[in-house]
């Protein structure tokens, strides 16, 4: 595990979460350097999303600590003010692009709502910023003025990404953010995410069961199984020569030159 000499965006130490009798997350530690991208890989039920929810302050860790940009954020925010503060530090893009947007709100209205909360801008500046965010994720004016109903899955996910960026959060969790999209759309959205990272220097925490997606976007990887980290290293190293049998298994579901999409199993999608 690389020690943090440059400033860290996220430091997680000994994180644990127990639901009843099950330990969903057990002794998870990792850190992400500012501007880097970390992949959290594992099958469904491995505790990835629970880690994400604790980072977002939506769930209280049973034990362990979370630091965002050097500040302790182990406990969920208590007040509206703290909640807003946390929102400016870390954001999340959800898996399901159909459920993560209010169906009665146009894309630009959703962005405006967030900007009104997090940025002190005049009405004109806000409109300008909405257009900038739209440009950043590749949504034109017509798309921005549409309700989610009129947008495709990929377009909705772009709205969700723009909305996360609108808070100004330097760290974004992508929780299976492309898993629900078609393969060709996945590639488009992944490209957008890569461009955004180059343009803004945002830190990504990419949660995925799909190693092809991970390899495209991240530098370092941790592999989770049954709530614990079983392997970690650079993406290239872990994916090229996995040490843990579980990682090898995961790798076997990755597209290869003669791999056909029809054979891919979808069991890990949820």
């Amino acid at each position: 595990m690389p020690e943090q000499t440059p400033p860290s965006a996220v430091v997680v130490d000994g994180l644990e979460r127990v639901f009843g009798d099950t330990r969903a997350v057990a002794d998870v530690s990792f850190s992400v350097v500012r501007g880097a991208a970390l992949g959290i890989v594992g099958e469904s039920g491995s505790g990835k999303t629970t880690v994400a929810r604790m980072l977002m302050g939506l769930l209280r860790p049973t034990s362990g600590s979370i630091q965002l940009a050097g500040v302790d954020r182990s406990a969920p925010p208590r007040t509206e003010g703290e909640r807003r503060e946390r929102a400016r530090e870390i954001q999340m893009v959800f898996q399901d692009p159909y459920g993560s947007l209010d169906r009665r709100q146009t894309a630009s209205a959703a962005l405006t709502e967030v900007l009104r909360l997090h940025a002190n801008l005049s009405r004109q500046q806000r409109d300008e910023r909405v257009r900038e965010l739209g440009d950043l994720v590749g949504l034109d004016k017509r798309r921005l003025d549409s309700l989610p109903r009129a947008l495709s899955g990929g377009e909705r996910q772009r709205v969700a990404i723009a909305r996360a960026l609108a808070t100004g959060a330097p760290t974004i969790i992508l929780d299976e953010a492309v898993a629900a999209l078609d393969v060709s759309i996945q590639a488009q959205v992944l490209n957008v995410l890569r461009q955004i990272r180059e343009a803004t220097g945002v830190t990504y925490l990419l949660i995925s069961h799909d190693l092809a997606v991970v390899r495209y976007l991240v530098d370092d990887v941790v592999v989770m199984k049954a709530g614990a980290i079983v392997e970690r290293g650079t993406a290239a190293q872990v994916l090229a020569s996995p040490e843990h049998a579980y990682t090898q298994q995961l790798r076997d579901s990755v597209p290869r030159p003669n791999w056909r999409p029809a054979r891919r199993t979808r069991e890990g999608a949820a």
Binding site: M56, G57, L58, E80, R83, R84, E85, R86, A87, R88, Q91, M92, F94, D96, G99, S100, L101, D102, R103, R104, Q105, E113, V114, L117, H118, R142, D145, S146, L147, R149, A150, A160, R163, A164, T167
Partner: protein, 291 residues
């Protein structure tokens, strides 16, 4: 433009036209008959007093209970007033009461139910107890009781019925709001730092509004019947104000004299209006559930 079935009726258009929206409602023939009747009654309620050919208050005891005459197609009531004019003028009082019941009831129900669905815990439990408790009381009983306490007139029964109808709406709104709160967008809004009161009133309430409208439309029919029953009993709207429920009562004398036009016309209006609103409300509910 491509169209598909189901919730995504129109995919490539951002803003469906009015025609598309109306077609998308899929109300069926009965539903559309109900819509037409609701529109007719709404017009009557708004313009009825102006449409009345004669003054609904002018008495002429010399023609009391007289049969129809030229210019007076429905004849005269027991005080010699023009029945047609009184039916038209009565639309406003008869329909205004249920409207107030439904608006007041829906506002109370929405406020309690959506906050309960959001907050859960003790507040949710208390709201549920209140709903269960009120469901045990028949609306009419509560309305008659309120008249006994607060006196005759429209105000007491309207408030009593609004409270009596609140749980029926509240339960549906609560379960609708509850399934909304479990959706990712609510979690996302929370993570975005949107204050709870904005999530509740700017996101949850608009998303359960179709449910509220459907339920309120159904209950409008019930409220119309209950309020008319109260007026029929002489506890609600008072003479000489024209009101359908009251007219069914005052027309009873005419029925005995072989001249049932007053009871019959007022009663027909009541029955049609109650059926139309109830059917439309049920159609809308079914349509929302089917989504």
């Amino acid at each position: 433009m491509t169209t598909t079935t189901g919730y995504q009726a129109i995919t490539l258009r951002e803003k469906p036209t009015v025609v598309h929206r109306i077609r998308g409602l899929e109300l069926g023939v009965t539903g559309w008959i109900a819509v037409v009747l609701v529109v007719v009654f709404t017009i009557m309620a708004i313009a009825g007093p102006a449409l009345a050919p004669h003054d609904p208050y002018t008495q002429d005891l010399l023609r009391a209970n007289n049969p129809p005459a030229p210019g007076y197609p429905l004849g005269f009531d027991y005080e010699g007033r023009d029945i047609l004019s009184r039916v038209l003028a009565g639309a406003r009082t008869s329909l205004l009461g249920p409207l107030l019941v439904v608006i007041l009831g829906a506002a109370l129900a929405t406020l309690l139910a959506v906050t309960a669905a959001w907050a859960r815990g003790w507040w949710d439990a208390s709201v549920n107890v209140v709903f269960d408790f009120l469901l045990a009381f028949p609306g009419l009983l509560l309305a008659v009781l309120s008249v006994a306490v607060f006196g005759k007139g429209l105000v007491a029964p309207v408030v009593a019925l609004a409270i009596a109808y609140m749980p029926a709406m509240g339960r549906i709104v609560r379960s609708g709001a509850r399934s909304e709160t479990s959706m990712d967008y609510v979690t996302a809004l929370r993570a975005l730092g949107v204050p709870a009161r904005l999530i509740v009133f700017r996101h949850l309430v608009p998303n359960v509004t179709p449910l509220i409208i459907a339920q309120a439309t159904t209950l409008f029919g019930f409220a119309l019947l209950d309020l008319s029953a109260i007026s029929f009993l002489g506890l609600g709207v008072q003479e000489p104000q024209p009101d359908w429920g009251l007219m069914v009562n005052t027309g009873a004398a005419g029925v005995l004299l072989g001249h049932p036009a007053e009871s019959l016309s007022a009663g027909t209006c009541l029955a049609l209006a109650a059926c139309a609103f109830t059917v439309l409300g049920l159609r809308l509910s079914r349509r929302i559930e089917g989504r």
